[in-house]
C-alpha cells in the first residue's frame, strides 16, 4: 500500500510539472499582453478601440474550453497544420487570460486621478516617464487583488488542457483513477491543486504587503 502511494505521488508529480509549466508560461505571456490590449482598448482612435473591444468580448464571452480546442484544431482543418498540443494550450490560455488582465489593467489605469498626470506634466516628465514612474506603480498596487483572483483561477483552469491530450495533473490522475478503479488519485490531485493555490496565495499576499507602505 505504502509502495503504491509512493508510485502515485511520483506519477502525479510528473503531471503537476506540466501543470506548473502551463501556469507560469501563461502568466509570462498574458500579463504583458494584457497591458498591450488595455492600451488598445483605451486608444484615442475609435476603430482601434472597437477592435480590442471585440477581442475582449470574444475572449470573455466564449468558453475557454472551446477556445482551447479551436486554437489546436482550426489550423489542422484549415491548412493541415498539426502543431504541438502543449504550445497550442499556452497560446489559447495566454490569449484568453490577457483579455481578463486587460480589463483589470484598464480599470486600474482609469482609477488614477487626473491630477497625477497633470502634476507629472507640469514637472516636465515625458509621457513614458509619467506612465512608468508615476502611474504604473500605483496601478500595480490597485490591480493586485483582482489579478490574484484570476491567477488562482488559472491554476484550476489548467485542468482544461487535458482535452487536448496533454498529460497534465488532471489527465494523469483521471487515467490512473480508471486504471485502478479508485477515486484516490483524484483526491490526491485535488490536494496538489490546493497546495499550489496555497503557495500562490501566499506569494500574492507577500506582494500586496510589500506595496502596503503607502496609501
Amino acid at each position: 500500500m505504502l509502495e503504491y502511494a509512493g508510485g502515485l505521488i511520483n506519477l502525479l508529480s510528473s503531471g503537476a510539472v506540466t501543470t506548473i509549466q502551463i501556469f507560469f508560461l501563461t502568466l509570462i505571456f498574458s500579463l504583458p499582453l494584457g497591458m498591450v490590449i488595455a492600451f488598445g482598448r483605451m486608444s484615442k482612435k475609435k476603430w482601434v478601440r472597437e477592435i480590442f473591444k471585440l477581442y475582449i468580448l470574444i475572449m470573455r464571452g466564449t468558453p475557454l474550453l472551446l477556445q482551447l480546442m479551436f486554437v489546436y484544431f482550426a489550423p489542422y482543418y484549415w491548412i493541415g497544420l498539426n502543431w504541438d498540443r502543449f504550445i497550442a494550450a499556452i497560446v489559447a490560455f495566454s490569449l484568453n487570460y490577457a483579455a481578463y488582465f486587460a480589463e483589470i489593467y484598464r480599470g486600474g489605469i482609469e482609477s488614477i486621478p487626473q491630477g497625477q498626470y497633470e502634476a507629472a506634466q507640469v514637472l516636465g516628465f515625458t509621457k513614458t516617464q509619467t506612465f512608468v514612474r508615476i502611474i504604473l506603480p500605483q496601478v500595480i498596487k490597485r490591480v493586485l487583488p483582482p489579478i490574484s483572483n484570476e491567477v488562482i483561477t488559472l491554476v484550476k483552469d489548467t485542468a482544461l488542457v487535458q482535452t487536448l491530450g496533454v498529460s497534465e495533473l488532471f489527465r494523469v490522475a483521471k487515467n490512473e483513477s480508471s486504471r485502478i478503479f479508485s477515486t484516490s488519485p483524484l483526491a490526491v490531485a485535488g490536494i496538489y491543486y490546493l497546495v499550489m493555490n496555497w503557495l500562490v496565495t501566499k506569494a500574492l499576499h507577500a506582494m500586496e504587503k510589500r506595496l502596503s507602505y503607502y496609501k
Binding site: G115, A119, Q121, Y214
Partner: protein, 252 residues
Amino acid sequence: MLKAQNLVKKFNDNEVLSGISFEIIKGQVLAVIGPSGSGKSTMLRCLNLLERLDGGCVEVEGEVMVRTDDNGNVIYAPEADLRRIRLRFGLVFQNFNLFPHLSVMQNITEAPIRVAGLKPEEAKELALGLLEKMGLSDKAEAYPYQLSGGQSQRVAIARALAMKPDILFFDEPTSALDPELTGEVLKVIRMLAQEHMTMVVVTHEMAFAKEVADRVIFMDKGLIVEEGSPEEIFNNPNNERTKAFLNVLKSY
C-alpha cells in the same frame, strides 16, 4: 516676463475666458481674485499647458508659446519648445497632487533627476535645503498619506521649486486646507515673495492677497474687470462688480 494677450478658452459652448490680457512682471507677485467660475483657474491651467487655448497669444521673455493668426487659428510652438518653456513654470495645485507611492524626498527629487538631469546626490541636497526652508526637515522619509494638508502643500511647493522655475503659479493653494493650516502655507508663500520669486497666486484669501501682492487682478465671468495695486483694488475699487464682490466677502 510673461505677456498674455486676449486669451480665449471655451469648453464646448461655454466661454470661460473671454479675451483677457495681462502681464507677469519679474520679481512681482500677481494675485488673481474673483468669484468661483470666473475663469481664474482655467487661465492658470492654460498658461501651464494643461488646457489648450481657443484664442490669444502668450509670450515668455520674448519667446512665443502660442499665438493666433489673422484667421483665428491658434498656433502653438513645436512640442520641443513647449517642453522647454513649460520647465520655466512651476504649478502648485489646490489638491497638492503629490505622488502617493513616493516618499517626500522622492517626490521632490524625481523631476530634478529624471527631467533636469541632476545627479541623485545633488538632487537630494537640493531637496534637503528646500525641506529645511519649508520647515519639514523631519519629513523627508515620510509618505504623503502621513502628512497633514498644510505639510502636503509645503512639500508640493518644494517639489515645484526644485525645478527652479522662473514663474511659480498657485491655484488656490489653501482652498483644500483646514483654516488652522492655511497659515503655514501662506507663510511660505510670503517668504518666497520676500525673496522676489515671481509668482501668480489665484486665491480666496483677500487679506493675504492684499498683504503680499504687488498687483491684483479681479476677474469675473471670464474677463478682467479691474487691475491695480492692492490699495486700489481693496481700498478704492472703481468697478461696481469689484465693490460688490469685496462687500460680500466683508459681510462674512
